[in-house]
């Protein structure tokens, strides 16, 4: 009976991982498969689908748009996040809970509602759909995530560090740059990263608000209808996967370094 311990779990978890990884594993498989039909049996090895990517200009445009949107979104939502997190963890102000609740609301609103409401405003006010409107939507949905991450960073910050700095004769402004900012830096990096990735992959709002210029997911959506485009999409997906894992590992490396600098026991890991 002692063998029964964890036996069930090992099998369950193994099966679960098959389920979990099923789509992701297929990406590289078909990306390197020498056939324009995405199905088994495999035909042979090729890198031509990556070459196709290289020569697809519409894709490059979409990637550029998406990167622009994601970077802008990351910067602004982190900025808004820093302000809100600092305000909510450090200061008391009237109706704090309701205000914070309201700001966090997009986190618990179905994305279609956000898409719909932004679309309505844009139509009613006669604005034009553009990348700018997508950025606005993305900032709106990313800010709560940034606040969540940054709040914990600010909350972990011992308030007496700030007071110590002032006590030692520093001004408030310098205190922010010399003490608070370096210590919440890992949180800021994490926030930038999260906002960047959410924005980069966001489809529902982007599609609702898409103007002339497609984002990467909107482009992918358009391409999904063409069977002959699928293998190169697989190549694209493979690249995205490799890219984001590298980015994550890099971020985790910085996080660990940050932790080491502040001497906090490394317990968490990603998220």
């Amino acid at each position: 009976m002692m063998r029964g311990k964890g036996y069930f779990f090992k099998w369950y978890v193994a099966l679960f991982f098959v389920f979990l990884y099923a789509p992701a594993i297929l990406l590289p498989v078909f990306a390197f498969n020498d056939s324009s039909i995405v199905s088994f049996p495999l035909k042979g090895f090729t890198t031509k689908w990556f070459e196709v990517l290289q020569s697809t200009e519409a894709l490059h445009v979409a990637v550029r748009n998406s990167l622009m949107i994601a970077v802008t979104t990351a910067i602004f939502s982190t900025l808004f996040g820093v302000l809100a997190a600092r305000a909510s963890t450090r200061f008391a102000f009237p109706a704090r809970r309701s205000i914070m609740g309201f700001i966090m609301l997009p986190m618990v609103l179905p994305e279609i509602i956000i898409g719909v409401s932004l679309l309505v405003v844009i139509i009613q006010l006669g604005f034009e759909l553009s990348l700018f409107t997508i950025i606005l939507g993305h900032i709106l949905i990313c800010t709560p995530f940034c606040i969540a991450i940054l709040s914990s960073a600010f909350m972990n910050l011992d308030r007496s560090l700030e007071e110590a700095s002032i006590d030692l004769g520093q001004t408030r402004w310098n205190t922010f740059w010399m003490v608070i900012f370096p210590l919440v830096m890992p949180g800021i990096v994490a926030s930038l990263l999260i906002a960047f990735t959410i924005s980069l992959d966001e489809f529902i709002i982007a599609f609702f608000l898409a103007g002339t210029e497609p984002t990467l997911p909107v482009y992918i959506w358009g391409q999904l209808r063409f069977p002959q485009k699928l293998p190169s999409l697989m190549a694209l997906g493979t690249l995205l996967l490799v890219l984001s894992i590298s980015l994550l590992l890099l971020a985790d490396y910085f996080r660990r370094r940050g932790l080491k600098k502040t001497g906090i026991e490394n317990s968490g890991g990603f998220l």
Binding site: S160, S165, L168
Partner: protein, 360 residues
């Protein structure tokens, strides 16, 4: 006496409706080791932070070194603080931490370096200069916090429970070190603590606080020997209380009927000014003695031992006196050859009227 370095008068602090400090009048003398002692929540930290400039009193005035501190922000006051959590900047080395305040003053590099290494050796951390501050033990962090504050040569060093995060051994060691350091630098120390032993062993003078008010300010000996109230007496060490009724006052003495002990005449020096309202006498457990066979005392009373607590060096006896329900505690030193009694034994308890205090 020289001018007090810190003068508070009529200081109030309100948090909303809650009065955290009320009518604080206090003078702290230049160069003394002063402690604020009181139970949790009595307002010690609030008072200390008001002096440092992190809280603004709701009323009253605060002068440091003769200058009003109205509107003077924390970073402009001649005080420095050692925080309970030490607040060591985790992203800086020991030396960077210590240099922090000097850099804020934009002193020349060479001078900063010199003063930093001086301060570091003052607290015994030579060779730790470039150690990352998270790789320090509790006691070492404590020292960094001290060095970081002292390097600025403040007029007053404020310490908020600086030892409470340390374990017992380390705490005792740091207590004598702190005391020694204070004597060496001659700076006025204001220490917040809720540990009466800490306050008694370290301070020149102590202010005992309850509920936002100062109950008594005195030297350790005075505080222990002549607490101004039952509450202070009980907070500073153990004290037995017996009901008492004042019968008459005449010149230098007062007549009292004391539960179990009968009618006594006490010198007025053993009573608070104006004896009205006094309803009990207090006696410290070590002022009572369980008399060994053949031993005598000024006064004696028969008692029954109800509980025995053996502490190795001491034994605490709870004894029941005639006409008193709650037992009285007697502490005895376990000297060689003295027999430890057991619960249920009868004992003669020796006492002396000079060790009784009439209390409100």
């Amino acid at each position: 006496m020289t001018q007090p370095i810190i003068q508070l008068s009529g200081v109030d602090k309100l948090y909303g409706d809650f009065q955290a400090l009320s009518q604080i009048d206090l003078d702290i003398r230049t160069g003394e080791f002063f402690s604020l002692l009181g139970p949790s929540g009595c307002g010690k930290t609030t008072l200390l932070r008001s002096i440092a400039g992190f809280e603004t009193p709701s009323a009253g005035s605060l002068h440091i070194d003769g200058k009003s501190m109205d509107g003077v922000p924390a970073n402009k006051r001649p005080t420095n603080m050692v925080f309970q959590s030490y607040a060591i900047f985790p992203h800086m080395s020991v030396a960077e931490n210590v240099a922090y305040g000097l850099k804020a003053r934009r002193l020349p590099k060479a001078e900063i370096q010199e003063r930093v290494s001086e301060a570091i050796s003052m607290v015994g951390l030579q060779g730790f200069d470039s150690r990352a501050s998270h790789a320090l033990s509790g006691g070492q962090r404590q020292r960094v916090a001290l060095a970081r504050a002292l390097v600025l040569k403040p007029r007053v060093l404020l310490l908020d429970e600086p030892l409470s995060a340390l374990d017992k051994k380390m705490r005792e060691q740091m207590q004598s070190e702190l005391r020694r350091l204070q004597r060496a630098v001659g700076i006025t120390f204001v220490l917040v603590t809720h540990d009466q032993e800490e306050a008694l062993t370290m301070s020149d003078r102590i202010a005992v606080m309850f509920d936002g008010k100062i109950a008594q300010v005195a030297t350790p000996q005075m505080l222990y020997g002549k607490p101004s109230s039952r509450r202070v007496g009980n907070f500073i060490g153990m004290m037995n209380f017996l009901e008492a009724e004042v019968r008459a006052t005449s010149g230098e003495t007062v007549e009292v009927d004391v539960q179990s002990l009968g009618r006594l005449t006490l010198p007025l020096s053993q009573a608070p000014a104006g004896v009205d309202g006094c309803q009990s006498v207090g006696i410290r457990p070590e002022m009572l003695t369980i008399l060994a066979e053949g031993q005598t005392a000024e006064r004696e009373i028969e008692a029954v031992v109800s509980e025995v607590f053996y502490y190795g060096d001491m034994t605490f006896y709870d004894v029941t006196l005639p006409q008193k329900d709650a037992p009285v505690t007697v502490t005895m030193r376990n000297t060689a050859g003295r027999k430890v009694l057991a619960a249920g034994d009868t004992a003669r308890v020796g006492w002396s009227p000079v060790s009784l205090l009439l209390l409100r």
